[in-house]
Amino acid sequence: MRAFLDFLRAFTIMFLRNRQALFWTFFFPVLLMGLLGIVFGRGFGGDLNLAIVRLDNGMVANVMVQAFKNADGITVSQPATEADALKQLKDGTVQGVLVLPSDLQQRFAEEDDTTRLPFHYDNSDLATAGQIMGVTQQIVESVGNGIAKVQPKLAIRPLGVKSQSLSYLDFLVPGIVALSIMQTAIFGIAGTIVTYKEKGVLRRLRATPLPMRSFMGSNVTMRVVTALIQTAIVLAVGMLLFHVKVNGSLALVAVVAIVGAGCFVSLGFTIAAVSKNQEVAQALMNVVQTPMMFLSGIFFPMNNAPAWIQPVVKVLPLTYLADALRAVIIGDASLWAVRWDLAILLAATGVFVMTAWRFFRWE
């Protein structure tokens, strides 16, 4: 136990003296968050503007307009004609135009098929278009299903991002948290273990009576604690600087972060186990992390990605960590609601630990 604490202290000292590690661990996620927010977000916490062209005065159209007016983070204007609305879209006053056709009431009442409402968006700004389309779709669908917020008796508590969170940063922040946890855990473990293996540090430590689990355990503990601190920093900066809403329980965020860190720590051990030197480890880390960075719904939602890529999305552990964090942070999901995400992360942890165990060499 004494040795465990001494190594924990030593790992912390080494980490704090490594300025590059500090930069990438604590500063970079915040920087990334800020840059992406500026580039893709429409100002920090700014609303989306939707023009509704109302050509029908029936009940459905009324409910629909009311639902949009009640929604957080979206501002509704009602130009008289579709042409006016499209002009506003072109000059950037609004980001989307929803048309409620004159026969809406009639079609809604008579047709069994889904009535598709024309929706115009700006092709040149796909990130924003994706956001406003997602939000609009959600509200339209919920109105169509008769569970819009205007009818509180039938309302459900919405979970997930799209129904509530409307700013890109709200979507982004849990993703950045997930990405940071992954990188800290994988680099922290694979990077150090392979270096120690290559330099003979592990061999030297094995020549002492110290049980290797004390050494490995203190390294893992240090990485998990770092991941938690990272999570706290990213969330705090997101809340204070970028007005991101954190709705969920912080304790549950910590639980999800720990499970996620555990998963990627074990992936780090797997990489360390099969890598003979740092070059191999570096290459493997890139191979593992790059797809996760871009296909796990960190920077943009994967729902709209082509169907053929969905199986890839589904096997990436980071997908589930980002999903769970988003559900908890933005959607105030319960532990029960994210049980499958956590179960999949734990199962992946098991696979990684067994692989690492099978292939690990000390030198």
Partner: protein, 347 residues
């Protein structure tokens, strides 16, 4: 193999701190260590001499509890090293060939951390005393990657003493060091031994073995070729010295080889001659007499005492070490490297 080496005085008799019996290690087809037995006496400096690949390091690894033997037994300070080497590891100190250290830790912090590995908590005064023993006191606040090759080896030796071991193992402690750093390290090793710690070291420098070791085991191809004091090993050669010289006029070899005190002789490049003498004194006297009788002038006369290099050459037909001057580490500190990874904590 000469008959002189057939009887191995491997038994340390009285107080053996290490006993090795029939120790064997295989790597696939290769038998790295082939059933060797010997004992190390408490308080001595024991050398294992042999070329690269002789099995020296593998032997040490089995004694140190790093590598499980395929056969035989190892007893250190009365404790069996296998199957569970933990108790033995606690009583020994180890310096491995690759200097293994943590970046971003100061020397005193590294020593504290390694003490912790042995369950001992070193006070700052004890840490300073230990650094002083290896001549690194003024470097106590330096980082390990700011040390020169010789300093890094000395730190490595300090770490091999951190638990006050009964025996300390030094694996090629001076390999790659320049002569000055090598000599400084010899003084450190002598001082450690004088303080009561048994030292086992491997080397492929015969001079190191001759100067430091009370007894030397000569290994080659996983076998123990000989074990004795350096002096006895050399005496066992039946050769006292090498005598080389040139003559003003050529002389038939038969005349030289028949001289009193000469056991063999050869001619080199048509001009120079070399004789192996079983008695340097008688060989030189008879050579001078011969030259005087024939009116020849002897030039470049050189008498070199036989050494462990000759012992090894005689036993294996090979030289012990190619001089590797070109890849010697200099005593200049390496440039500090500050390595970090893209995204994330590499520290």
């Amino acid at each position: 193999m000469s008959a002189a080496f057939a009887a191995l005085p491997a038994d340390a008799g009285g107080d053996a701190v290490i006993s090795i019996r029939e120790l064997t290690k295989r790597y696939g087809e290769l038998v790295a260590v082939d059933g060797i037995s010997f004992e190390v006496r408490r308080g001595e400096v024991f050398g294992i001499l042999g070329p690269n690949g002789a099995g020296k390091t593998t032997t040490l690894e089995m004694v140190e509890g790093l590598s499980c033997p395929d056969g035989g037994e190892v007893v250190v300070d009365g404790l069996s090293a296998w199957p569970d080497p933990t108790a033995v590891k606690a009583r020994i100190g180890v310096q491995l060939q690759a200097t293994a250290l943590f970046d971003y830790l100061r020397l005193r912090e590294i020593i504290h951390l390694f003490g912790s590995c042995y369950g001992v908590r070193r006070t700052p005064a004890e840490i300073d005393a230990l650094l002083d023993r290896v001549g690194l006191l003024e470097k106590r606040d330096s980082f390990a990657d700011q040390l020169s090759g010789g300093q890094a080896q000395r730190l490595s030796i300090a770490l091999a003493l951190v638990n006050d071991p009964v025996v300390t193992f030094l694996d090629e402690p001076t390999t790659g060091l320049d002569p000055r750093a090598r000599r400084a390290l010899w003084d450190v090793i002598r001082a450690i031994n004088a303080a009561g710690t048994t030292v086992v070291l491997t080397t492929h420098y015969m001079e190191e073995a001759e100067r430091l070791c009370a007894r030397v085991a000569v290994m080659d191809h996983g076998h123990l070729m000989a074990l004795d004091t350096p002096r006895a090993l050399v005496r066992g050669l039946g050769a006292d010295a090498h005598v080389t010289f040139t003559l003003s006029e050529p002389l038939p070899l038969e005349a030289l080889c028949g001289l009193d005190g000469v056991s063999s002789c050869s001619a080199h490049d048509g001009e120079g001659y070399a004789m192996v003498a079983d008695s340097a004194q008688r060989a030189v006297v008879s050579l001078l007499d011969l030259a005087a009788a024939r009116g020849l002038t002897i030039e470049n006369l050189d008498v070199q005492g036989a050494n462990l290099e000759d012992v090894f050459l005689r036993m294996t037909g090979r030289k012990l070490a190619e001089e590797d001057e070109e890849d010697e580490r200099t005593d200049e500190p390496e440039k500090p490297r500050r390595r970090g990874f893209l995204f994330g904590g590499g520290g």
